[in-house]
């Protein structure tokens, strides 16, 4: 079989950094080809070169044997190379049909042909077996439906090469299966799928071939049928010992530190009660939309709860605003680094110091020396890889950004940490490091509530787990009761999904 897209000897040099070195990969039609590697391995750079966002310093790209010389992403798209970004690029105030044909609207002269557009859009959606109204505004769709619109957009353009950049990071199990069905359809239509992921399970479910990258180089290319998870992860991180990946080990668990009773939020959360013990890593599992994040936001005082009582160290507390929670030494690492976690355009030190500024100020003057010292301290302790603490935060990798958010709450002397999807979008190595930091924290007297949608993670590290379903707690599991089936059974809405 002839490859439809060939990347030949690509190198990319940014000032001061060599992002890609002599990269050659062949992509075949009808095949899903996974690109895996730690953050910073060069996956994004490679994708951007294929999609003509960047131009390669050296090397060539061939589409059907013809050399590509695209000057803009638009030209690449017209030639049939489409990218589905990690962050959705749907315009919320346009309809499904308008989004699908954005930039290539059917028209007669200057008059848009909406009827044609909607007809075509419906045809595409029908062919994908999707029940989405083409006239619906995208802001009214949920995350999974929006993702499907993104895919429909690509299908509508008859793309020959489709690149998916971590498409499942905000989808639930069931939605992922729906996505995989679409990918299988694309494969059947002889589309070459390039699939960037951090999740091993997905890789083996949907991909035929995998290229492992490390430090801008291709380390290995394998058929997934002839490989296994251990082998791939080992070559990704460049070491063979994986037994201590989650690093689970016994650690003392003490008295109750925090208790929530009968927490309700209108239409979102109903009568949630749970407790957290000292030194415990308490997991919260559930599908996206089960109300876990809403519960934690209300506890932290970021949003209002309609009813509910909280006890910290046995005393009743109310956090009417985040400042009150912070004063009681509660910290909240949110699920979305960019939107709610970091001041991306500010230096690292300003992010780390942010919640603690008032506590360390003298007469309202910022204590810059304290801020620098604490930032340097946590840069060392958490091994944040940065040239300096005054580096602008947006320039760091996801794993390092996540460490900065953690550092910010450690610097605020937090005793109870709420972590919402703490390892989302960070690479294997960074995850492992992050788990070790979580253990450090609980062994030094802290307690953690961790929301996670990744089952291996919940099973791998939580001491006890609450499962939420449609705004209610649907189960409590001890560490020895944790398994994929016990979690799914309590999280899923229908019995059909439970057996899937």
């Amino acid at each position: 079989m002839e490859p439809c897209l060939q990347v030949k000897n690509i190198s990319k040099v940014f000032p001061g950094v060599k992002a890609l070195t002599d990269m050659s990969i062949d992509f075949y039609p009808g095949e899903a080809h996974a690109l895996v590697g730690e953050n910073g391995a060069g996956k994004s750079t490679l994708i951007k070169i294929i999609a003509a966002v960047y131009t390669a310093t050296e090397g060539e790209i061939y589409l059907d044997g013809k050399k590509c010389e695209f000057k803009s992403p638009k030209e690449a798209l017209d030639a049939g190379i489409a990218v589905i970004q990690q962050e959705l690029s749907i315009a919320p105030d346009l309809t499904v049909a308008q989004n699908m044909y954005l930039g290539c609207e059917p028209h007669h002269g200057i008059r848009l042909d909406y009827r044609q557009m909607e007809k075509d859009a419906k045809q595409v959606l029908d062919s994908m077996n999707l029940d989405i109204d083409v006239k619906a505004y995208c802001r009214d769709l949920n995350a999974a439906q929006q993702q499907m619109v993104e895919i429909a957009k690509v299908v509508a353009k008859n793309a020959r090469v489709v690149i998916l950049d971590e498409p499942t990071s905000s989808l639930s199990e069931k939605e992922i299966n729906a996505l995989f069905d679409q990918i299988r359809k694309m494969k059947a239509d002889n589309v070459a799928v390039i699939y960037v992921t951090h999740r091993m399970k997905e890789l083996f479910t949907i991909c035929d071939r995998v290229t492992i990258m490390r430090d801008g180089c291709k380390v290995a290319e394998k058929l997934t049928s002839e490989s296994n998870e251990q082998e791939i992860v080992a070559s990704m991180i460049g070491r063979s010992n994986l037994t201590d990946y989650y690093n689970r080990h016994a650690h003392p668990i003490g008295e109750e530190v925090f208790r929530v009773e009968h927490l309700s939020i209108d239409k979102k959360v109903e009568d949630v009660s749970f407790h957290l013990n000292k030194g415990e890593i308490l997991g919260f599992y559930g599908l996206v939309g089960a109300g876990r994040t809403e519960t934690m936001e209300a506890i932290f005082g970021a949003t209002k709860m309609d009813s509910g009582v909280m006890y910290l160290h046995g005393n009743e507390v109310t956090f009417s605003k985040p400042a009150a929670a912070i004063a009681s030494k509660v910290g909240f690492v949110t699920e979305d680094r960019r939107r709610t976690g970091l001041l991306l355009e500010k230096p690292i030190s300003e992010n780390i110091g942010l919640p603690s500024l008032p506590a360390h100020a003298h007469h309202g003057i910022v204590n810059i020396r304290w801020e620098e010292e604490i930032s340097k301290e946590y840069k060392e302790k958490l091994d944040i890889k940065t040239p300096s603490i005054s580096t602008i935060t947006s320039t760091l990798s996801g794993g390092n950004q996540q460490k900065i958010i953690l550092a910010k709450w450690l610097a605020a002397d937090s005793e109870v940490l709420i972590l919402d999807e703490p390892t989302r979008g960070i690479d294997v190595n960074a995850k492992s490091e992050f788990y070790a930091l979580m253990y450090d924290f609980v062994e030094n007297g802290g307690s953690i509530i961790m929301i996670s949608s990744e089952m291996p993670e919940i099973i791998g590290i939580a001491d006890r787990v609450y499962v939420m379903r449609e705004g209610k707690i649907s189960g409590e599991l001890m560490a020895d009761e944790l398994s994929e089936s016990s979690l799914i059974e309590r999280a899923s809405i229908t019995s059909e999904a439970a057996s899937a």
């Binding site: 000032p15 912070i326 709610t340 970091l342 001041l343 355009e345 300003e350 919640p355 309202g364 910010k408």
Partner: protein, 335 residues
Amino acid sequence: MNNKSKFGSFVSKNMILVFLVVLCAVFGILNHNFFSSVNLINLLQQMCVNALLASGLSFAIILGGIDIAVGSEMAVAGVLAALGCKWWHNNVHELTYMAALLILLLVAVICGLVMGLVIGYLIAFHDLLPMICTLAFQTIFRGLAYIISGGGPVTGLPTTFALLGAKRLFVVPGFPNGLLPTSVIFTVIVVLAMHLLLTKTVFGRHVFAAGSNRNVAHLAGINVRKVTVLCHILCAVTACCAGVVTASKLQNGQPNIGESYEMYAIASCVLGGTSLTGGRGSVARAMFGVAVIAVINNGLNLLNVNAYWQKVVIGAIIILAVVLDMWQQRKEKAA
């Protein structure tokens, strides 16, 4: 080598300063009066009002908002200051310099406090868009200024009223009116205070945090609403300071002062690199913007360019400067 690259990076980070120097050089060559001490003192004095406006407006803009009512706020404060001084002079005691200073400052602070509080409250607690909210107050405050003044200027003030606007200190040979305008001293004090407030205090840091990402700021325990109200109060107080300085300079309280001054103040902030989307900016650099606009005005005056053309030239130069700045930033990002 190292020194040279340091100098290079300083220049590239402060293009607006380079631009200012070039402008001065051009005007200096075209008209030898430009660098005369009389003209330079004039120039400083001409900068005061815009400098005051831009210093407070920086807070509102860095927060991600705006206040386009500053010109009208000026008028209210100017009229009230004139009325206050006149009343004191006629009913209490002859207006001394000390009394004039106290009344002017008191009016500026109280007036700014009230107007800023109203604007800030509506924006912070009722989620009004800053642009729309202050657009409304632009006409409300302008109307109030006319109502309070009775439609025309408040006149008949003693010469001591000119303390903050027209008076100059240090009479030396060659300068019978004095060397240093009090308005310049006053402006320097206010601007310096605003600069320190923004760069050194927790409050200042919170302004940047809320301006670059409200959610992150809120979750870090920052009371974003309080910060918003405070920023608008600061903005209005500095605008009122500009108002009393202007009234004092004119020796009467005119309800029509400050019209379209908000545009010059916004332009100054932008020239100084303040981002209209919030999160980025500096009071000190806004002063370079103030200087650029003042120099252009002053230089064109010296060259006898007609006032209408001056408006056109100023607008064009603002665009040029901003384009240069964006070009520079893009180069930095690429590097």
